[in-house]
């Protein structure tokens, strides 16, 4: 279930530390997306990259010129409200989050190389031409994952084809906090994090009858249990590790209920990839292997129904056994009486 970031006054601060748009969900989300993206390059790459990150402990923020930047930018509440969009632009760097991010080895000036040696700064970060894809290509030798594949998907996405103003990688991803998904994150968390990124901008979808989703029963329940991306990415050519960056427009997206509400749904395979692992952790390999996604009873995805079904079967077996035993006893008694 989606929690309004406004419900907790403290979350306002923490969110600033993470996203340009500033919600706590956003940050969770980013972590998840991160993970997804990282795994896109095959687990091995991501893992080795992550491991490399873990071993090289020297944080980029401790390098000399970064410390100058951090004299101000550590402040959790360093932000302003953009005069055009009315949105809060966060300028704060969370040292902890940065330390755990994939970019943690980089010093500030590795990316922000011009116009920042004095305060007030000559330029604002908005007019920087930071290029994730190019930079990752240049630094491939250092272990930076190649983003060209992602970029091709992204170029087909509605965010590009509809020419959404000022849309870039940074609209969804915060490079200062980006890191592989942490093990043990629940499905609900993954969903909340991922959808938070979308709903941060698409706030119109948080209404009782969200625009374009009139056909969808109980939309808010859906927002809480599946990712937007599960429907809004192409059905074809899916890989299990991550959702595509080709985000589809409403009319091209899946609207068939059974695509999800059926066994072995292709739409949900990515998302439930997590669930399988999680369930295996929780219930053990065998229990998970038995239940899996195959619903014994109906297609409700309701565990209670599973239990009730099991109960009915158990009762039936008991009944048959009792009946058999009774017949056996009756037969024996007749034998002896004879």
């Amino acid at each position: 279930m989606l929690v309004s970031p406004l419900s907790d006054p403290r979350s306002g601060f923490s969110c600033l530390a993470y996203g340009q748009c500033g919600t706590a969900l956003r940050r969770l989300l980013l972590l998840a997306l991160l993970a997804l993206t990282a795994s896109a390059f095959a687990l091995s790459t991501a893992a080795s990259y992550g491991a490399a990150a873990q071993t090289a402990k020297k944080s980029g923020l401790l390098k000399e010129d970064s410390r100058d930047c951090m004299r101000c930018h550590w402040m959790e509440t360093m932000a302003y409200r953009d005069r055009e969009t009315g949105k809060i632009v966060n300028l704060s760097i969370d040292r902890d989050a940065y330390r755990h991010s994939v970019h943690h080895e980089l010093a500030c000036s590795d990316c922000h190389d011009r116009g920042y040696s004095h305060y007030p700064h000559r330029t604002s970060s908005a007019d920087e031409a930071l290029q994730c894809v190019e930079c990752h290509e240049e630094r491939e030798d250092d272990g930076a994952p190649n983003l060209v594949g992602l970029h091709h998907e992204y170029e087909k996405s509605v965010h590009v084809t509809e020419e959404v103003e000022d849309f870039s990688c940074f609209s969804c991803h915060n490079p200062h906090t980006f890191h592989p998904v942490s093990a043990g994150e629940s499905i609900a968390q993954v969903v909340a994090e991922t959808n938070g990124t979308c709903l941060d901008c698409h706030t119109e979808l948080l209404t009782p009858v969200p625009k374009g989703h009139e056909w969808l029963p109980r939309p808010q329940a859906h927002w809480g249990s599946v990712r937007c991306l599960d429907c809004h990415t192409p059905l074809e050519g899916r890989i299990t590790e991550r959702p595509s960056h080709n985000v589809l427009a409403a009319e091209d997206s899946n609207q068939l209920c059974v695509e999800c509400h059926s066994k072995g749904s292709a739409l949900l395979s990515q998302l439930y990839n997590y669930r399988t692992e999680q369930a295996r952790d929780e219930k053990g390999f065998f229990a998970q292997a038995i239940y899996n996604d195959a619903y014994i009873v109906g297609m409700t995805r309701n565990p209670w129904m599973d239990w009730i079904g099991l109960g009915v079967i158990l009762l039936m077996i008991l009944g048959v056994a009792a009946h058999g035993y009774a017949r056996y006893r009756f037969h024996r008694e007749q034998e002896t009486s004879k």
Partner: protein, 755 residues
């Protein structure tokens, strides 16, 4: 019928037993207990009468007309603002006032209600409850509850001045326990019984007093000075009071001379109960406020648009002294929701102070027995359109302090022991302002960044009012010739940062004696206000001012040792023995560390305060001893501070306090929070009515720190106010490391911003 026959059969006996089981406790509770209670505590309850009468139809209509027209005129004047020619403006106002739609809008709706219901006399709560017996309360989660109105009010802090509710305080005892925490033994605490040197008394001994003042300029001049016409009734008042002194009145024949003016004083002036004593009954785990007391509640002081503060003075009848209230129909017809003016009738007294020029209530001191002005401001941060950006913007008190029924939240951060009705309800700047409050300055992001460590108030309350009192000596009073009374001597007053305004880390927790708790999130662990900042005054200007005042006092009190006086006032820890000092150091480190390091601390401004009072040294701890109250009349009239204590502690409540049942009921627990092991019940008065030797004058062992949140100025401090060597913030005392101090006080960045 024979009584015996009632118990003749088994069935009858059973019925009788059942009836007895039901009735006896009820009778005990409703009849016997209140009688016993009044006897035990010495408080008195009697029907409360006020000077009201029924209006005739014609008088009612005349009053209705006057009120409606005055209101309409007020509205019209607010609309017609831009007219340079006063004649033309007057004509326009007149046109507007006679415009049909304008007449229909606004006005006082209760005029019509009263007219229809035939109400021609206001008889207090009784009248209000005719329609408002129950009210709907909307809780924070949106649920609506219907409650009994009177029951709702008598359980508010505005009526009780205390609470024993679990989790109601973010205040910690010096023993490290949160006051009335869940699971602890709950004791009623709040303004009703907390130790505080500002009022000098406490609510029972200082509830209502008539003080015979002797202004040296004489009666006529006093009347001229007064913003209201002096009522000749003053003379009647004197004779009433002097002929029938009541239990706390004056001695025989005392002060009958011509120059005597009776003045009103006491805690009851700001409290909604009209009784002879505060809500004593509510201090007990059982028992209810008597019906008479409930009938004395002043609904109108909070709800009338035209409440007359001139009706708020002490009156005396055969049961004792109590506070009069405005029960006029004029006031009653203007009822509505509480406005800022209503709140400020009482609260400006604490915020801006009585000498604050825009304190409206302080200009309506009473038609007779005029209230004594408290010229030393308690908090020194006024709330009025002239001094506060929010008041100027028309923001209502209840916009931030959002009530639920009659319960009003104080905010979650409570440094002192003032009870709160809704302790968990947020009252903060952030609930309206986002995390990015600054939008104008080029440096707005940098300014917003400061919110991580600084409270908004730290920059946006640049100073307090000048007469903000910091050090008050109750032991050595000074003669105020103009008012004709002896007053406590304000040894030091200032509203300036570094003098009457200080900066401390604060996480929302406080101690039992109102010391802000918090810690520096990036500090070196050296921050220790209870041993440093609030236990010592370093500012040489302040020390010099205190010395000057001590010299002045010495003329009146030759026994004063000036050096010692200055030392104890500015270094109150010098009053502790080395063992006591060591114990204190240990208690701070062992008991308060957790409360200091909890949550997130930010730097807040505080008004520091200390007072010299008489203390019962048998009940002494490392943070102070039990302070003893003063009898206001004796104090103001004679200037004999010891005699005033003698008088006050003869109050039955104080006597009971020094007895075993009270010790067990609450005093042991109270003192444990105070940092004292066990309450010693040795009554501090000798048989010949002298103060016992254990009563000594002392300054409290540290300054109390009162939170200041009002008087918000649009333009805050500039950068250099703090970011320079010797700026407003003492970074070292705030526990910063030397490297960080160097950064914070360097001006390399500041010079770019403020060349």
């Amino acid at each position: 019928m024979n009584i015996r026959s009632l118990f003749a059969t088994k069935t009858r006996r059973r019925v009788a037993i059942v009836l007895a089981v039901l009735l006896v406790p009820a009778v005990l509770y409703k009849v016997v207990y209140p009688v016993f209670f009044d006897l035990y505590t010495g408080v008195e309850n009697a029907p409360l009468t006020y000077d009201t009468r029924e209006l005739t139809e014609a008088e009612f209509e005349q009053l209705a007309l006057e009120l409606t027209e005055a209101k309409r005129r007020e509205r019209a004047e607010a609309v017609v603002t831009e007219e340079d020619d006063s004649f033309a403006r007057e004509v326009k106002i007149d046109i507007l006032m006679n415009t049909p739609s304008f007449i229909e809008e606004g006005g006082y709706p209760h005029i019509e209600y009263f007219r229809e219901a035939g109400i021609r006399e206001y008889e207090g709560p009784k009248t209000c409850l005719e329609c408002h017996a129950t009210i709907d309360i909307t809780h924070e989660d949106g649920t609506v509850e219907t409650v009994d109105t009177l029951e709702d009010i008598v359980n508010t802090v505005h009526f009780k001045f205390q609470t024993a509710a679990g989790g109601a305080f973010s205040t910690y005892g010096y023993d490290g326990r949160q006051v009335n925490a869940e699971g602890a033994r709950k004791i009623p605490v709040g303004k009703i019984n907390r130790a505080c040197g500002i009022p000098g008394s406490f609510s029972w001994t200082g509830w209502a007093a008539l003080v015979a003042s002797r202004p040296e300029h004489g009666l006529d001049e006093a009347a001229e000075r007064s913003p209201v016409e002096a009522d000749p009734a003053t003379v009647e008042g004197i004779s009433l009071a002097l002929n029938d002194p009541g239990k706390t009145g004056h001695g025989d024949g005392e002060g009958l001379s011509d120059g005597v003016v009776l003045r009103s004083e006491g805690c009851g002036q700001c409290h909604i109960g009209g009784n002879y004593h505060p809500a004593t009954e509510k201090m007990m785990p059982v028992g209810d406020v008597p019906k008479e007391a409930k009938e004395g509640i002043d609904c109108l002081i909070c709800h009338a648009g035209e409440y007359d503060m001139n009706q708020r003075y002490v009156i005396q009848d055969k049961h004792g002294l109590r506070w009069n209230q405005d029960r006029s129909m004029r006031s009653a017809l203007t009822v509505g929701r509480a406005s800022n003016e209503n709140c400020l009738n009482c609260h400006q007294h604490n915020m801006g102070g009585d000498a604050y020029i825009h304190n409206v209530a302080a200009k309506h001191l009473g038609d007779k027995h005029q209230r004594l002005l408290h010229t030393g401001a308690k908090r020194g941060n006024p709330f009025s359109p002239q001094s506060d950006a929010h008041a100027a913007a028309g923001i209502k008190c209840t916009d931030c302090h959002v009530p639920e029924g009659h319960k009003i939240p104080r905010g979650r951060k409570g440094v002192d022991l003032v009870a709160s009705d809704l302790p968990h309800k947020e009252v903060s700047c952030e609930s309206c302002h986002s995390q990015t409050p600054h939008n104008v300055s080029e440096h707005r992001a940098l300014l917003n960044g400061h919110v991580a460590r600084l409270a908004c108030e730290t920059c946006h309350i640049k100073d307090l009012v000048d007469n903000n009192v910091v050090l008050r000596d109750w032991v050595h009073p000074t003669w105020n010739a103009e008012e004709g009374i002896w007053e406590p001597t304000d040894v030091f007053r200032s509203g300036k940062p570094g003098e009457g305004l200080m900066y401390l880390w604060f996480n929302g927790n406080g101690t039992f004696l109102a010391n802000a708790l918090g810690s520096n999130p990036e500090g070196d662990g050296s921050y220790n206000p209870l041993m440093e900042q609030i236990a010592r005054i370093d500012n040489p200007d302040v020390i010099a001012a205190v010395r000057e005042k001590a010299r002045e006092l010495k003329k009146q009190y030759p026994d004063i040792d000036i050096d010692r006086y200055v030392e104890t006032a500015t270094d109150p820890l010098s009053q502790l023995s080395p063992e006591m000092l060591e114990k204190r150091r240990k208690m701070v480190a062992d008991n308060l560390k957790a409360a200091m390091e909890e949550g997130e601390s930010r730097i807040y401004p505080f008004k520091p305060f200390n007072a010299m009072m008489f203390e019962d040294m048998n009940n002494q701890g490392p943070f102070g001893a039990m302070i003893l109250p003063f009898d206001y009349a004796t104090y103001y009239e004679t200037g004999d501070s010891r005699a005033a204590v003698v008088k006050a502690i003869q109050d039955p409540i104080v006597r009971r306090m020094y007895q075993e049942p009270f010790k067990l009921y609450m005093m042991d627990e109270f003192m444990a929070y105070f940092g004292v092991d066990g309450w010693k019940t040795i009554y501090p008065l000798t048989d010949d009515n002298k103060l016992a030797p254990q009563v000594e004058p002392h300054w409290m062992r540290q300054m109390g720190t009162l939170m200041v949140n009002h008087g918000i100025q649009r333009e805050g401090h500039d950068c250099k106010a703090c970011h320079q060597p010797d700026g407003l913030l003492d970074y070292e005392a705030l526990g910063y490391t030397p490297e960080r101090i160097a950064e914070l006080t360097s001006n390399e960045i500041i010079d770019e911003i403020e060349p």
